[in-house]
Symmetry: C2
Subunit: 416 residues, 2 copies
C-alpha cells in the first residue's frame, strides 16, 4: 500500500530536513517580532468561493460534503482563514499585526515533478500599516530568511516591482480597468513564453509587445524609492533589483510586488508576495478594512535549492549533524551494572541530554558500533569501575575517566 | 463566517500555548533518542478499513471521493500510516525504531465539551523490541513528559496493567477467545458504569461481578515485575500503580497496557498505550512482523490539566513570558535617526534578538507604552546622543548609556 499520488511519507531523515526548514522560518519571523497563528485544515467551501484570489484554485479544491451535510474543503491557501480570523477579532490586537503561519495546504494539481498535492507553506503578513516602512520590514524578513540558510547574493535576489506603475501604464495605453487582471497575467507569463505568443495575446489590448518591453527596460519605479532607501539603511540594498517584469499573477495586489528567485539553475521563484490593501476588506465584507503586505513560500523549491548551493548545503549538513538523534550513548560493559546505567540515563536525560543505551545484553564492540552510527559524540562506559565512568570521544577515540558524580559538570564543560 | 463546528482558530496566544505543549513533547521524546516522522493528512480509506483498531473510528471518518475517483479519508489516527511506512522500509533502519509523531487527526464525533473534530495528537512508538526494557523506556518517557510540565506525583499517576493477566483470567473462567475483546471492553468501562449494569453485561459470560472485582483487587501481576524494577532503577517507581482495572478499550494490545491519569478533579485519562506485538504485522499483511510498544496523547485534556495545577501553570506562564514576541524595542527619539535605528535593528536581529520598532513617527511616551505591552525586557533609545544609546530595563526602569558598538556585548552580558 502506497500514499496517495502527490502525498508524502516523511521518514525521520526527511522530517529532519523539513524541520531544519521550518525552524529557520520560525526563527527568522520571530526575530522580526512576528507571532505564529494557525487555523483549521478543513473550512467551509464558501470561504474560498466567496472572493477568490485566482480562478485556478477553485478548480483544484479537495471539496466534499461532511456527515452534517456541510460543503467543506481542505484549505488550498491560508489567506482566507487569516482574513476571517482578523475580521472576527482584530480589535483585540494592537496594530500592526505581524502574523505568520506554517501550515499544510492541499491542491489537486496535475502530477508533475516538484508539484505536490499536500505541501507545506510559510506565510508572513504585516497587517494594519500601509507605509513603505512596512513593505521594507517584510522584504527584509524574506532576505534574512534566505540568508539564514547560508544563501548569499550569489544565490538569490529579490525582484521588486510596483502595481501602481503598471496601473499608470495601463491607463496610459487604454487598457480598461476590468481587463487589468487579464493584461497583468500576460505580462506575468511573458518571460516563459515565446515572443510571438505574447505579442498575439497583447494584440486585443491594442498594445505592442515592443511598448511593453520598452516600459520594462526603462525600469523607472519612483514608488519604490522609500522602500529602497529603507533597505539601504539596513545594508540589504544589494539583494534587491527593481524590475517591472515582475507583476505576480494574483489579481489582488495593490502596490509593491516582489519575488525571490534563484540565480543559478534556471530562474526559479522561491517566494512571492506584495501589498494587498483591499483583500482583507473584500474577504470579510468590510469588517476588517486593513491594509496588508506579505509573502508566501513553499518547502519544495527551497529544499531543492539548498541541495544545490555548496555553502547552504554545508550549513544544513552541520545543523543536521548537531541535531543528531543521540548525543550520548551508554555502553553497558557488564550486565550487573544495568540498574546503575538506567539511573545514569535518567540523570543525563533530566539534564537535557539525548541518551540511548542497549535494551538487552550486547557485546561491548557491538555497542560501540551502535554508538557511532547513532550520531552520538561520546560513549560513556558503565562497567566494573563503577562509580567511575570511562568517557570516549567518538571522533578521535580520546578517553577519560570521570567519576559518576562529576559527569554532568564534565559534559557541560565539553559542550561549551 | 465561523470555523466549522469542532474546528479551532488558533490566535497567536492560543498558538503559543499549543507550542509550549508541542515543544515539551518533542524535547522529551528526543531526550529518549526518539526521532520524528510524519505522513500524509489524507490517506486511501482502505488503510483504515483493512484492519481497524476499534469499530468506532470507521463510523467517524471524514471520507470522500477525490477528483481522481479515489476513496480517501482524513486520518483519524497515525498508527496505520506508521505501519505502512515501517512495512515499506523497516530494513533501512537499525532496530529498535524509536519514532514519534505530532500530527492533526480528524474524527467526526458528536459535539461535546473538550471533543474536537480536528485535534492534535502525540504518538510515541518503540518498534522491534519485545522486552520489558522497551516497555520501561516508553513508560519512563511518558512520566518524564508529564514532569516536564511541572506536574508531580501529587498531580498524576500511571496505572499499569497487563493483558496476559486478563488472558489467564479469561481462559480460567471459560471466556472464549473470540469474545475476549468484548469482555475486556466491559471491564474497561466498569469504573464509569453502575454495578448492576456491569453485572448484567458480564452475565452472558457466566462470570460474576464479584469474581472480576476480586481479581482486580488482588492485584497480582507477576508479568510486571521486570518493568517495575527497571522503573525503580530510574527513580520513577513512585509514579506507577499496578492496577488490573486498566485494560484499555482497543482490541490490539497484547502485553502491558497503561494509562496516565490526573489525580484531582475527576480521574481523567491524559494518555494511554501499551504493547501491541501483532498489529504491525496485521496491518502490513506480515511485511513488518515487529513487536511494538507505544502510547498516544491529545492536547485538550493536558491543556486543561496544566491550567488547574498551580505549579504547572506557573511554569507555563514563565515559559510563555520568556518566549514573548519581542525582546528589545527600539525607541526612535528623533526621526532624523531612523536610518541608524534600522541599521541597529538589523544588527540586533542578525545576532538572534527579537526586535521591534515603530514603523512611523510616534511620540516617545507612546513608544515606551508599546515597548512595555510588547513583552520586551529592554527599550533601546536611538536619538540625539547617537552613537550612544540609552538602554532602559523595563521591569525597574533602570537606565544605562551604552555605545552602539558595544551594545551586542552588553546585551549578551545581561542575558547570562
Amino acid at each position: 500500500m502506497q500514499p496517495l499520488p502527490g502525498f508524502r511519507d516523511l521518514y525521520p531523515g526527511d522530517f529532519a530536513r523539513r524541520n531544519y526548514l521550518t525552524s529557520r522560518w520560525r526563527e527568522t519571523a520571530r526575530r522580526y517580532g512576528f507571532v505564529e497563528f494557525d487555523g483549521p485544515t478543513l473550512e467551509p467551501t464558501d470561504l474560498y468561493r466567496k472572493k477568490n484570489s485566482g480562478g485556478e484554485i477553485l478548480g483544484q479544491l479537495y471539496e466534499f460534503t461532511d456527515k452534517g451535510e456541510r460543503d467543506v474543503s481542505l484549505r488550498p491557501e491560508v489567506t482566507p482563514t487569516l482574513a476571517r480570523m482578523i475580521a472576527a477579532r482584530h480589535r483585540d490586537f494592537p496594530k500592526p499585526l505581524r502574523w505568520f503561519n506554517v501550515g499544510t495546504c492541499f491542491r489537486y494539481e496535475r502530477q508533475q515533478r516538484g508539484r505536490l498535492r499536500e505541501f507545506l507553506q510559510f506565510n508572513c503578513d504585516l497587517v494594519g500599516d500601509a507605509s513603505p516602512a512596512a513593505d521594507a520590514e517584510v522584504v527584509a524578513l524574506l532576505i534574512d530568511l534566505l540568508r539564514s540558510f547560508g544563501l548569499t547574493e550569489q544565490d538569490f535576489a529579490i525582484r521588486l516591482s510596483d502595481r501602481s506603475a503598471w496601473q499608470s501604464f495601463m491607463s496610459g495605453h487604454g487598457v480598461p480597468q476590468e481587463k487589468a487582471g487579464e493584461f497583468l497575467q500576460i505580462v506575468d507569463r511573458m518571460e516563459k513564453m515565446p515572443e510571438e505568443k505574447t505579442a498575439a495575446l497583447l494584440a486585443p489590448f491594442g498594445v505592442a509587445l515592443a511598448t511593453v518591453k520598452d516600459f520594462i527596460e526603462k525600469a523607472e519605479i519612483p514608488a519604490l524609492e522609500p522602500l529602497l532607501s529603507d533597505l539601504e539603511a539596513r545594508g540589504l540594498r544589494s539583494f534587491v533589483r527593481p524590475d517591472l517584469g515582475v507583476v505576480r499573477g494574483l489579481a489582488y495586489y495593490t502596490g509593491v510586488v516582489f519575488e525571490a528567485f534563484a540565480l543559478h539553475g534556471g530562474l526559479r521563484a522561491i517566494a512571492g508576495g506584495g501589498r494587498y490593501d483591499r483583500l482583507l476588506s473584500d474577504l470579510s465584507d468590510g469588517q476588517a478594512d486593513l491594509p496588508a503586505v506579505g509573502f508566501g513560500m513553499g518547502d519544495a523549491v527551497l529544499l531543492e535549492l539548498l541541495g544545490e548551493c555548496p555553502s547552504a548545503k554545508a550549513r544544513e549538513e552541520a545543523a543536521l549533524k548537531a541535531d543528531a538523534a543521540v548525543q550520548l550513548y551508554l555502553v553497558i560493559a557488564s550486565e550487573e551494572h544495568r540498574a546503575e546505567a538506567l539511573g545514569l540515563a535518567q540523570l543525563l536525560r533530566e539534564s537535557g541530554w539525548r541518551v540511548a543505551y542497549p535494551l538487552a545484553e550486547e557485546k561491548v564492540g557491538k555497542q560501540f558500533g551502535t554508538a557511532e552510527s547513532s550520531g552520538a559524540t561520546h560513549a560513556i562506559v558503565v562497567g566494573s569501575e563503577w562509580p567511575t565512568l570511562k568517557v570516549k570521544r567518538l571522533a578521535d577515540r580520546h578517553e577519560e575517566s570521570v567519576p559518576k558524580d562529576s559527569i554532568l559538570a564534565w559534559l557541560a564543560n565539553t559542550r561549551s
